[in-house]
Protein backbone atom coordinates (compact mmCIF):
# COMPACT_ATOMS: atom_id res chain seq x y z
CA UNK A 1 0.00 0.00 0.00
CA UNK A 2 1.72 3.11 -1.08
CA UNK A 3 0.65 6.69 -0.86
CA UNK A 4 -1.00 6.58 -4.22
CA UNK A 5 -3.38 3.83 -3.24
CA UNK A 6 -4.16 5.26 0.17
CA UNK A 7 -5.03 8.55 -1.38
CA UNK A 8 -7.14 6.79 -3.97
CA UNK A 9 -9.21 4.95 -1.41
CA UNK A 10 -9.58 8.01 0.73
CA UNK A 11 -10.85 10.10 -2.12
CA UNK A 12 -13.16 7.32 -3.24
CA UNK A 13 -14.82 7.01 0.13
CA UNK A 14 -15.18 10.75 0.36
CA UNK A 15 -16.75 11.00 -3.07
CA UNK A 16 -19.28 8.29 -2.49
CA UNK A 17 -20.34 9.43 0.93
CA UNK A 18 -20.72 13.03 -0.21
CA UNK A 19 -22.77 11.85 -3.19
CA UNK A 20 -25.02 9.94 -0.84
CA UNK A 21 -25.28 13.05 1.21
CA UNK A 22 -26.48 14.97 -1.84
CA UNK A 23 -29.40 12.75 -2.43
CA UNK A 24 -30.35 12.02 1.13
CA UNK A 25 -30.30 15.39 2.82
CA UNK A 26 -33.55 17.18 3.36
CA UNK A 27 -32.29 20.71 3.31
CA UNK A 28 -31.40 21.71 -0.25
CA UNK A 29 -28.60 23.90 0.95
CA UNK A 30 -27.02 20.86 2.52
CA UNK A 31 -27.37 19.09 -0.80
CA UNK A 32 -25.47 21.86 -2.52
CA UNK A 33 -22.69 21.80 0.02
CA UNK A 34 -22.35 18.05 -0.22
CA UNK A 35 -22.17 18.34 -3.99
CA UNK A 36 -19.37 20.86 -3.72
CA UNK A 37 -17.50 18.44 -1.52
CA UNK A 38 -18.06 15.72 -4.12
CA UNK A 39 -16.57 17.94 -6.76
CA UNK A 40 -13.54 18.54 -4.62
CA UNK A 41 -12.95 14.85 -4.20
CA UNK A 42 -13.32 14.26 -7.89
CA UNK A 43 -10.79 16.98 -8.54
CA UNK A 44 -8.56 15.17 -6.14
CA UNK A 45 -8.86 12.10 -8.33
CA UNK A 46 -7.94 14.22 -11.31
CA UNK A 47 -4.78 15.42 -9.62
CA UNK A 48 -3.90 11.87 -8.73
CA UNK A 49 -4.02 11.07 -12.41
CA UNK A 50 -2.00 14.14 -13.25
CA UNK A 51 -4.81 15.83 -15.16
CA UNK A 52 -3.89 19.15 -13.62
CA UNK A 53 -5.72 21.42 -15.97
CA UNK A 54 -8.97 19.56 -15.61
CA UNK A 55 -8.70 19.47 -11.86
CA UNK A 56 -8.38 23.23 -11.63
CA UNK A 57 -11.07 23.82 -14.24
CA UNK A 58 -13.37 21.45 -12.36
CA UNK A 59 -12.99 23.51 -9.20
CA UNK A 60 -13.32 26.84 -10.88
CA UNK A 61 -16.22 26.04 -13.21
CA UNK A 62 -18.24 23.50 -11.29
CA UNK A 63 -17.67 24.20 -7.68
CA UNK A 64 -17.01 27.85 -8.19
CA UNK A 65 -19.54 29.01 -10.74
CA UNK A 66 -22.24 26.44 -11.21
CA UNK A 67 -22.76 25.62 -7.57
CA UNK A 68 -22.77 29.26 -6.67
CA UNK A 69 -25.50 29.75 -9.23
CA UNK A 70 -27.46 26.95 -7.64
CA UNK A 71 -27.04 28.49 -4.26
CA UNK A 72 -28.21 31.85 -5.47
CA UNK A 73 -31.36 30.32 -6.94
CA UNK A 74 -32.11 28.29 -3.83
CA UNK A 75 -31.69 31.26 -1.61
CA UNK A 76 -33.76 33.37 -3.96
CA UNK A 77 -36.61 30.94 -3.52
CA UNK A 78 -36.07 30.73 0.16
CA UNK A 79 -36.18 26.95 0.20
CA UNK A 80 -35.44 25.18 3.38
CA UNK A 81 -36.13 21.87 5.00
CA UNK A 82 -39.77 22.42 6.00
CA UNK A 83 -41.14 23.40 2.62
CA UNK A 84 -39.19 20.66 0.94
CA UNK A 85 -41.61 18.28 -0.75
CA UNK A 86 -40.94 14.62 -0.23
CA UNK A 87 -41.91 11.70 -2.33
CA UNK A 88 -43.70 8.87 -0.64
CA UNK A 89 -41.62 6.11 0.93
CA UNK A 90 -42.82 3.67 -1.66
CA UNK A 91 -41.60 5.78 -4.50
CA UNK A 92 -38.28 6.34 -2.79
CA UNK A 93 -37.90 2.64 -2.33
CA UNK A 94 -38.76 2.05 -5.97
CA UNK A 95 -36.18 4.65 -6.99
CA UNK A 96 -33.44 3.07 -4.93
CA UNK A 97 -34.30 -0.37 -6.18
CA UNK A 98 -34.24 0.64 -9.84
CA UNK A 99 -30.99 2.52 -9.41
CA UNK A 100 -29.53 -0.48 -7.71
CA UNK A 101 -30.67 -2.80 -10.43
CA UNK A 102 -29.08 -0.59 -13.04
CA UNK A 103 -25.86 -0.65 -11.05
CA UNK A 104 -25.87 -4.40 -10.85
CA UNK A 105 -26.68 -4.91 -14.51
CA UNK A 106 -23.91 -2.71 -15.75
CA UNK A 107 -21.57 -4.18 -13.19
CA UNK A 108 -22.27 -7.64 -14.45
CA UNK A 109 -21.84 -6.50 -18.02
CA UNK A 110 -18.50 -4.92 -17.27
CA UNK A 111 -17.08 -7.71 -15.19
CA UNK A 112 -16.31 -9.85 -18.16
CA UNK A 113 -15.56 -6.99 -20.42
CA UNK A 114 -12.54 -6.91 -22.62
CA UNK A 115 -11.29 -3.75 -21.08
CA UNK A 116 -8.07 -4.66 -19.34
CA UNK A 117 -5.35 -2.45 -18.32
CA UNK A 118 -4.13 -0.43 -15.49
CA UNK A 119 -3.44 3.06 -14.64
CA UNK A 120 0.21 3.68 -14.65
CA UNK A 121 1.32 5.20 -11.39
CA UNK A 122 4.01 7.13 -13.14
CA UNK A 123 3.18 10.59 -14.14
CA UNK A 124 2.36 11.27 -17.75
CA UNK A 125 2.46 14.56 -19.46
CA UNK A 126 -0.79 14.65 -21.26
CA UNK A 127 -2.67 16.37 -18.52
CA UNK A 128 -0.40 19.37 -18.51
CA UNK A 129 -1.79 22.58 -19.77
CA UNK A 130 0.81 22.95 -22.44
CA UNK A 131 0.03 19.64 -24.09
CA UNK A 132 -3.68 19.96 -23.71
CA UNK A 133 -3.55 23.39 -25.19
CA UNK A 134 -1.62 22.16 -28.17
CA UNK A 135 -4.19 19.45 -28.89
CA UNK A 136 -7.08 21.75 -28.24
CA UNK A 137 -6.00 24.44 -30.63
CA UNK A 138 -4.90 22.18 -33.45
CA UNK A 139 -7.04 19.11 -33.61
CA UNK A 140 -10.12 20.42 -31.85
CA UNK A 141 -10.18 24.05 -32.81
CA UNK A 142 -13.58 23.82 -34.59
CA UNK A 143 -15.48 22.45 -31.58
CA UNK A 144 -13.72 25.06 -29.53
CA UNK A 145 -15.05 27.88 -31.68
CA UNK A 146 -18.48 26.35 -31.81
CA UNK A 147 -18.60 26.09 -28.06
CA UNK A 148 -18.35 29.83 -27.95
CA UNK A 149 -21.44 30.01 -30.12
CA UNK A 150 -23.07 27.56 -27.75
CA UNK A 151 -22.34 29.83 -24.84
CA UNK A 152 -23.72 32.76 -26.69
CA UNK A 153 -26.96 30.98 -27.39
CA UNK A 154 -27.21 29.74 -23.82
CA UNK A 155 -26.73 33.23 -22.54
CA UNK A 156 -29.35 34.66 -24.82
CA UNK A 157 -31.70 31.80 -24.00
CA UNK A 158 -31.29 32.21 -20.30
CA UNK A 159 -31.88 35.93 -20.54
CA UNK A 160 -34.95 35.57 -22.70
CA UNK A 161 -36.47 32.87 -20.56
CA UNK A 162 -35.74 34.62 -17.34
CA UNK A 163 -37.08 37.98 -18.36
CA UNK A 164 -39.92 39.27 -16.30
CA UNK A 165 -43.07 39.77 -18.41
CA UNK A 166 -44.09 43.31 -19.20
CA UNK A 167 -47.80 42.65 -18.58
CA UNK A 168 -49.00 43.05 -14.98
CA UNK A 169 -48.82 39.83 -13.06
CA UNK A 170 -52.27 38.63 -11.98
CA UNK A 171 -53.23 37.50 -8.55
CA UNK A 172 -50.48 35.26 -7.30
CA UNK A 173 -52.76 32.97 -5.45
CA UNK A 174 -54.32 31.55 -8.64
CA UNK A 175 -51.87 30.47 -11.25
CA UNK A 176 -53.03 31.24 -14.76
CA UNK A 177 -54.83 28.47 -16.50
CA UNK A 178 -54.51 28.46 -20.24
Amino acid sequence: MDVFEILFWLLTVMAISCALGVILSRNPINSVLFLIATFFSISGHYILMNAQFLAIVNIIVYAGAIMVLFLFVIMLMNLNADVEPQKSRLVQLAAIVSGGILFLVILAALRDSAVRGSIDKNATDIGLIKNLGKTLFTKFVLPFEISSVLFLSAMIGAMVIGKREAAPVTDNKNPKQN
Binding site: F8, I16, A19, L20, V22, I23, S31, L35, F39, I42, H45, Y46, M49, L54, V57, N58, V61, Y62, I66, L69, F70, V73, L76, M77, P85, Q86, K87, Q92, A94, A95, I96, S98, G99, G100, L102, F103, L110, V115, R116, G117, S118, I119, D120, K121, T124, I126, G127, L132, T135, L136, K139, F140, P143, F151, A154, I161, G162, V169, P175, K176
Partner: protein
Protein backbone atom coordinates in the same frame (compact mmCIF):
# COMPACT_ATOMS: atom_id res chain seq x y z
CA UNK B 1 -4.36 0.32 -10.15
CA UNK B 2 -6.44 -1.72 -12.54
CA UNK B 3 -8.91 0.25 -14.52
CA UNK B 4 -11.76 -1.71 -12.95
CA UNK B 5 -11.53 0.39 -9.79
CA UNK B 6 -12.19 3.64 -11.62
CA UNK B 7 -14.86 1.91 -13.63
CA UNK B 8 -16.78 0.86 -10.55
CA UNK B 9 -16.30 4.19 -8.84
CA UNK B 10 -17.69 6.04 -11.79
CA UNK B 11 -20.54 3.57 -12.06
CA UNK B 12 -21.39 3.99 -8.40
CA UNK B 13 -21.47 7.77 -8.67
CA UNK B 14 -23.63 7.52 -11.80
CA UNK B 15 -26.14 5.22 -10.14
CA UNK B 16 -26.28 7.42 -7.08
CA UNK B 17 -27.09 10.28 -9.41
CA UNK B 18 -29.90 8.26 -10.98
CA UNK B 19 -31.33 7.36 -7.63
CA UNK B 20 -31.28 11.01 -6.78
CA UNK B 21 -33.21 12.04 -9.88
CA UNK B 22 -35.86 9.48 -9.14
CA UNK B 23 -36.12 10.11 -5.43
CA UNK B 24 -36.31 13.85 -5.11
CA UNK B 25 -39.22 16.10 -5.89
CA UNK B 26 -37.33 19.33 -5.89
CA UNK B 27 -36.47 20.36 -9.44
CA UNK B 28 -33.23 22.00 -8.42
CA UNK B 29 -31.97 18.92 -6.59
CA UNK B 30 -32.75 16.90 -9.69
CA UNK B 31 -30.61 19.23 -11.78
CA UNK B 32 -27.83 18.80 -9.28
CA UNK B 33 -28.03 15.05 -9.50
CA UNK B 34 -27.72 15.36 -13.26
CA UNK B 35 -24.51 17.30 -12.69
CA UNK B 36 -23.34 14.49 -10.48
CA UNK B 37 -23.94 11.99 -13.28
CA UNK B 38 -22.01 14.12 -15.71
CA UNK B 39 -19.10 14.29 -13.34
CA UNK B 40 -19.06 10.55 -12.94
CA UNK B 41 -18.66 10.25 -16.68
CA UNK B 42 -15.92 12.86 -16.69
CA UNK B 43 -13.99 10.89 -14.11
CA UNK B 44 -14.17 7.77 -16.18
CA UNK B 45 -13.00 9.52 -19.29
CA UNK B 46 -10.00 11.02 -17.58
CA UNK B 47 -9.10 7.59 -16.27
CA UNK B 48 -9.21 6.16 -19.75
CA UNK B 49 -7.16 8.97 -21.16
CA UNK B 50 -4.48 8.17 -18.60
CA UNK B 51 -4.63 4.50 -19.49
CA UNK B 52 -4.35 4.95 -23.24
CA UNK B 53 -2.19 8.02 -23.05
CA UNK B 54 -4.56 9.93 -25.35
CA UNK B 55 -5.31 13.58 -24.84
CA UNK B 56 -8.54 13.74 -26.82
CA UNK B 57 -10.45 12.18 -23.98
CA UNK B 58 -9.51 15.05 -21.70
CA UNK B 59 -10.52 17.53 -24.39
CA UNK B 60 -13.86 15.80 -24.44
CA UNK B 61 -14.17 16.25 -20.71
CA UNK B 62 -13.48 19.91 -21.25
CA UNK B 63 -16.33 20.17 -23.69
CA UNK B 64 -18.65 18.25 -21.40
CA UNK B 65 -18.02 20.87 -18.81
CA UNK B 66 -18.80 23.57 -21.33
CA UNK B 67 -22.10 22.00 -22.18
CA UNK B 68 -22.94 21.38 -18.55
CA UNK B 69 -22.42 25.00 -17.75
CA UNK B 70 -24.67 26.15 -20.56
CA UNK B 71 -27.29 23.63 -19.63
CA UNK B 72 -27.33 24.70 -16.01
CA UNK B 73 -27.77 28.29 -16.99
CA UNK B 74 -30.76 27.60 -19.16
CA UNK B 75 -32.22 25.05 -16.77
CA UNK B 76 -32.11 27.38 -13.84
CA UNK B 77 -33.72 30.10 -15.92
CA UNK B 78 -36.58 27.76 -16.65
CA UNK B 79 -36.91 26.84 -12.99
CA UNK B 80 -36.99 30.46 -12.00
CA UNK B 81 -39.72 31.14 -14.50
CA UNK B 82 -41.65 28.14 -13.23
CA UNK B 83 -41.31 29.42 -9.69
CA UNK B 84 -42.73 32.75 -10.75
CA UNK B 85 -45.82 31.02 -12.11
CA UNK B 86 -46.70 28.48 -9.46
CA UNK B 87 -44.50 29.54 -6.57
CA UNK B 88 -43.14 26.12 -6.04
CA UNK B 89 -40.45 23.93 -7.50
CA UNK B 90 -42.28 20.71 -6.92
CA UNK B 91 -42.26 18.71 -10.11
CA UNK B 92 -45.54 17.02 -9.27
CA UNK B 93 -47.29 20.31 -9.91
CA UNK B 94 -46.04 20.35 -13.50
CA UNK B 95 -48.51 17.98 -15.03
CA UNK B 96 -49.80 20.10 -17.87
CA UNK B 97 -48.30 17.55 -20.28
CA UNK B 98 -51.19 15.37 -19.27
CA UNK B 99 -53.48 17.42 -21.46
Amino acid sequence: MPIQYYLFLSLALFCIGIMGTLMRRNAIIILMCIELMLNAVNLLMVAFSKMYNDASSQIFVFFVMVVAAAEVAVGLAIIVMMYRKVHSVDINILNRLKH
